[in-house]
Structures are given as C-alpha cells and as structure tokens.
Symmetry: C2
Subunit: 392 residues, 2 copies
C-alpha cells in the first residue's frame, strides 16, 4: 500500500507529536489538569487570532462554529448581508436563513472576486443601519479564492453591522489580524492550519459582538457562548469537551509557535506558488487567475477537457497514494484542488505535483516530463529569498 500523502483542503496531515498526544489517557474535565489546558490554549489561540477579545473552544466541526457565529449574535427577522462566491459563503447565508434572519446574498460566480463595490453601495444606502451583520468567508476552500478581508473591513468602516467571518481554512496560515481588521466574530476549525485532527472549533468574539449576544434571540443551547463564558471562568467547558483533542491542541500550538507565524505564512505562500508554477508548466489554468486573490492554502486547477477529474484523482490515489480533492457544487467535474496547509511539507507537495504530472501523462494528456516539478521547486526556491532586497 502506498503512503497516504494527504493534499486535500482538510483534514490536513498532523505532525507525529500531535498524533501521539491524541493517545492521552482520560482525566477529569472538571479538574485542575483541564483548567491549565484550556487556559493556556485559549491564550495561545488568541495570539494566533491576533486578538485581545474573547475566544471559545467548541467540540464540533468548523460548521458548528459557523452556527455559533450566527445564533449567538442575531435575532430572527434581522437583516444579514451574506457575501457569497463559493460553497462556504453559501453555507453561512443558509445557516442565517434557517435561524430566521432576513438574508440578502451578494453573490458573484464561484471563483470570481466578491463584489466589493456593491458592498460599499449597500452599506452607504443603509442610512438607518438596519443591516445587523455581514457574513463572509475569508478563504473559500471550495475555489481557492482568498477574499480581501482587509478591503471589506475598510469598506465596513463605521457601519455598526457585525462583521462575521469564517476563517476555517486560513486562520494560522495567513496573516489575519482579527482586532486590527475589526472582525467581530471569527471562526475556525482545528483540522486545517492549526495542525490538529478535526473535532474542535474556535470562535473569537469582539466586545461589540458580546454586547449583541446579550440581546440576540435566536435559540441556542449546545453552542450558547454565554454558557461557554460562564464555564471558562472556572477553567471548564459547559459540556464534556473532546479531551484528546484538547491535549493535542496544546502540542499543536507549541509546534505552530516554534515554526513562527511569519515563517508559517511564508511557507503557505511558497506552497501555493509552487502549485501555480507547476500548473503553468503543465498548461493548466488555475481557477483563480489573479495571484493577489489566490489562496495560500488551497489551489484549484481547471481540469483539461480530455481529463475526467474522478479518473485523475483515482490514478493519483492508487498509484502514488496522493489524495487531492475534486470540485464542489457547480464546479464538480470541472476542477481539482490541492490542499497545502498545516503540516503539509514542501517535499510532500512536490511529490504530489510529480504524481499529478505522471497521472496526467498516463491518462493521455501531453506532458513534458519533469517540468512541473522543476517549476514547483523553483517557485519554492525563489520564495525562500527575502521578499525585499533579494537578489534576482
């Protein structure tokens, strides 16, 4: 059997030390050992989030935290503007609608930039400030688009609507100063850049959002952050947490800070550049053309007309043990996606690129052997140079 070289947009592979920590014996989740873990991890996660606001650890997938980000801060009937250019943007709008918000979708085609100008117009026209929240996905892993959160933050300006952001596949891998960008509610999951298996999610909350939570009337129990706050003050969670993941979390965060935030961001940028360079060498087109808008963690490539995505993925899995993802929703069959986040190493990614090259060739696509890997390597080498003042 081939090695499992996991290059999907999550779950990402986990470092050995994290995997070992997952084997922890059980202990009392209402005792001093857990208190130390939750307090230290909450503090460390706030550093990852670059926030001095509140932060809670939930036992759920990232989608559970998305639900928490809606139901804790809004009341049925309130106006929500959802920016949608992919599957997860759509999910945020759907959740808000399920819980009774009056949702307006500002949609652009999947893989296209958000309509920042239309957002600006909407906010300017909302003179009575009836808009209560804006939802947006930072990194659309369904398309490999990194939405311009800094610009959205600027556009929102002084408008009182809460800025609610899904950073599931970007937090930790991309510079994302939550407080500086005025993000009110920020959710992420454990299984992407934060080096953990799936099962925990994290939610950051600004003081403005916390005040809104006291008034919010959407029903909530399991995801009720007022309870999370009450128990955090005792060093606990309201309900039994996924203890093994909490133990591993501390391990993962240590490794994360040992690499260093800036190094981690740079590694993700290099990996994205490598996939795009390889795609260029293979004559493949990235779904997101503009490098500035390209995700550092997930790259979607358009499948050549002659290639069936399922066959390509099967070939890569069967012959090389390389697991990549297909397209979701309307992009199914049209794109395939490389995830390159968390503990994915540059050499694992290059092995994935090699598997792509060989598999395309097997399936009859014309390939000049070795060019894609060489291009990927060169992108990584170039990326290793200091950004400013580096010699050409």
């Amino acid at each position: 059997m081939k090695e499992n070289n996991l290059l999907i947009p999550g779950p990402a592979p986990v470092p050995d030390a994290v995997a070992r920590a997952m084997s922890s014996e059980m202990f009392n989740h209402r005792g001093p050992r857990f208190k130390k873990i939750i307090e230290e991890s909450t503090a460390a996660l706030k550093e990852v989030f670059q926030t001095r606001g509140r932060l809670y650890i939930l036992t759920s997938s990232g989608t559970g935290a998305m639900e928490a980000a809606i139901v804790n801060f809004l009341s049925p009937g309130e106006r929500v503007l959802s920016l949608v250019n992919g599957s997860f943007g759509d999910r945020f709008a759907t959740i808000a609608g399920v819980y009774g918000a009056a949702v307006e979708r500002l949609e652009t085609p999947w893989g296209q930039p958000l309509d920042y100008e239309a957002l600006e117009t909407k906010l300017r026209e909302d003179v009575e400030h009836t808009l209560r929240a804006i939802t947006v996905v930072h990194n659309e892993s369904s398309t490999g688009m990194l939405n311009d959160l800094e610009r959205i933050s600027r556009v929102c300006g002084d408008h009182p609507a809460l800025l609610i952001v899904d950073t599931v596949s970007s937090m930790g891998a991309v510079d994302l100063p939550v407080d500086r960008w005025g993000i009110d509610v920020c959710v992420t999951g454990s299984q992407k850049a934060l080096l953990l298996p799936p099962g925990l999610s994290f939610i950051g909350v600004s003081e403005k959002a916390w005040l809104a939570a006291a008034e919010a009337k959407m029903p909530r129990y399991y995801f009720d952050l007022r309870k999370a706050q009450e128990y955090l003050e005792k060093g606990q969670t309201p309900f039994t947490p996924a203890l093994s993941l909490c133990v591993a979390l501390r391990e993962g965060l240590q490794l994360y800070f040992a690499e260093g935030r800036q190094n981690c961001y740079a590694r993700h940028r290099r990996m994205a550049a490598a996939v795009r360079a390889a795609a260029g060498a293979l004559g493949l087109e990235p779904l997101v053309k503009d490098l500035q808008q390209a995700s550092p963690t997930v790259t979607a490539l358009r499948a050549p007309a002659s290639i069936k995505v399922d066959q390509l993925r099967e070939e890569m899995r069967r012959r090389f043990g390389v697991e990549i993802a297909g397209g979701q929703g309307e992009l199914e069959g049209q794109i395939f996606r490389f995830g390159h986040l968390g503990a994915v190493t540059e050499s694992a990614l290059l092995a994935g690129i090699e598997a792509l090259e060989l598999s395309l060739q097997t399936l009859g696509y014309p390939v000049e052997r070795g060019r894609a890997v060489a291009a990927g390597k060169e992108a990584i080498r170039t990326g290793l140079r200091p950004a400013a003042g580096g010699r050409k």
Copy 2:
C-alpha cells in the same frame, strides 16, 4: 505522581488499543476508507442499541445529541412532557424550552424515583393527543438513579407522543432494547460505556420519529439529521467528522463485542454492588436506596456530616491518584459519586474503595480498616456466580 485512577461518571478511562487508535494518521473523510468505517460502525452501534431503526454519528458531546433529539422532531409551541429527577432530565426540558416547545415538567426530587403514576394520568387525560413528546433520562448520572424505562414504555402504550430518551450513561452498560421498548429517539455519547474518549455522540431514530422529522419546524443546521441521512447514503457525514474518534470507535466496538453484551452488563452490575457493599461496611448511605433503582454505572453516596466532599476528593486525588466526582446542583456538597463504567476494571474500582476508606480515616471519620474493600470484593465474588441456581 500517582496513577490516574479515573472513577468519575465520564469521561471513563479508555483501553490501550483505543488510545493507540486515536493516533491514527489523517485521511480523506470523503473517500473509501471513511465509508467503510462509518458503515461498519453504524451497523455495530445498531447492535449496541438493539435497533433496526436509523442511527447517526455526530461530532459533539452527548448534549449536542440531546439537542438533535429535540430540534429534529418538534415544532415551536408543541407540548412536551419532561420527566425530571436530576440534572440531565432538567437539561432536556431546558433544551426543549429554548427551542420554543411548551414544556411541562413532571418533577420529583433529585435521587427520588420518577412519578410513574402521574405520567400515566397525564397520558390518559390527554385524550386529544396534543402531547407530542416525552423526554426522559434513562440513567441520571447526577444521582445514580436508573429510571424505569421499561415501565415508562409500558405506560406510554399506544399514545402517539414520541418517547425521547437520553441514555448517555447507560447505553452499552445496561440492557436497553431500544426497539422492543418503543424508544423513538435515543441518544448517547462516546465517552461512557462505549470505551471511547469524548467527542462523538450517537442518535437512534425510529421510523415514527423519522416521519415526524419531516414535519418538524424547529431550526437546525449542524444537527440536522436529514443532512446526516443524505450523506450517510454516500458513506459520509455532512461536515468533517472527528476522524481520530471514528477510527478509535471501530476499535472500541470490537473490544465491546469481544467482552460480550451480557458479560458487560453483568460486570457493571457487580461494580455497582461492590460500591454499595463497601458503603454499607463504612456506614455510608447511598442516595438511591432501592437496589432495583440503582444505576449500574454511577453510585452516589451521601457524605457523612463530619466530612467535606471537596476535602475528601482532594485527599483521594492527592494521595492515591483516585478521581471521583462531587454532587451537582442542589446536591453539591452533600454527595460524592463513583463512576464505574466503560473500561473501569473491578480491581481499579477496589483500589478506589480502598482510597476512600483510607481518606475517610485520615479526615477523622471512624473506619474499621479493610472492611469496605472486603465487602466490595465479596460483592464482586457473589456477582460472579450464575444469577439463578447459584449456591449460597
């Protein structure tokens, strides 16, 4: 540092093989490996539940599954009768209320039996069948009371209300024939009798409940079982599952069936008998006096007037590495609780009893050394005899 001898009502200790399985490498949760795991585990869990109905695996604590058991089957304004004689019965009523049900509580004091006759009257008087659901906790781990689910099932008879049951701390440890007892919705967690760390929950659903789900109007997204069904048909979950726990689940279920259901039930009964026998030898009173109503998985003992529960727990933890639980809510400071479920061995429990004896003595409570442990051992020995035809 002392060995961690975990004797709380959950999380229970986990077997080594399960702990090792938790270290699994990550893999694609939308691929063939996960499909096999979810299909096999769902089938095995149905055997544990003794059901041919539907069953879903959720990434959450047991409380998440309790929420799923309410929001998937009811609409705001519908009448729910909640049987309450402990903290978890209260939680069920609270969740139903939060989501807008018209909840009536049929309460008896914590540690006292439910009012089965009042339930019968309520159901008989409901000639128009406006009552849509009855919620009940099988095993109240807050008090160590095993509520008489078979009797409740009989009392419900042909009334169309859904019988919604929390079996978080009984499923697997106690004979609980879900289909035979006409349980419509049955929830449990991974971290109790099923030998896993916390982080997964399981929910069984009868066809009658499934029909109700199609009409139910309470809002739901993360816990929406229609989505869980849609994805289960593809061998997936709607959202990224806690993969490590899913791998360990298969391991845990194998160990569970290797011991055998009947042996497992008997072991839990013996452990409960051992704690009660030891309590008798120490002159301590169990909160639940009637053996027929006593939980096989959790035993609550009243603290002697001279003993502070926190001090006792601290002494047992510090000197012997034994972790027991205190009381919750109105019973805080009045009782302490031994959890004896899942992978707790009889010898670990006897070590816990010895720690109790020695710690009580240290704290000035009069103890005749060795009597409690001897009584516990004798209860285990007696319990090992065949129930019928055993020599006295």
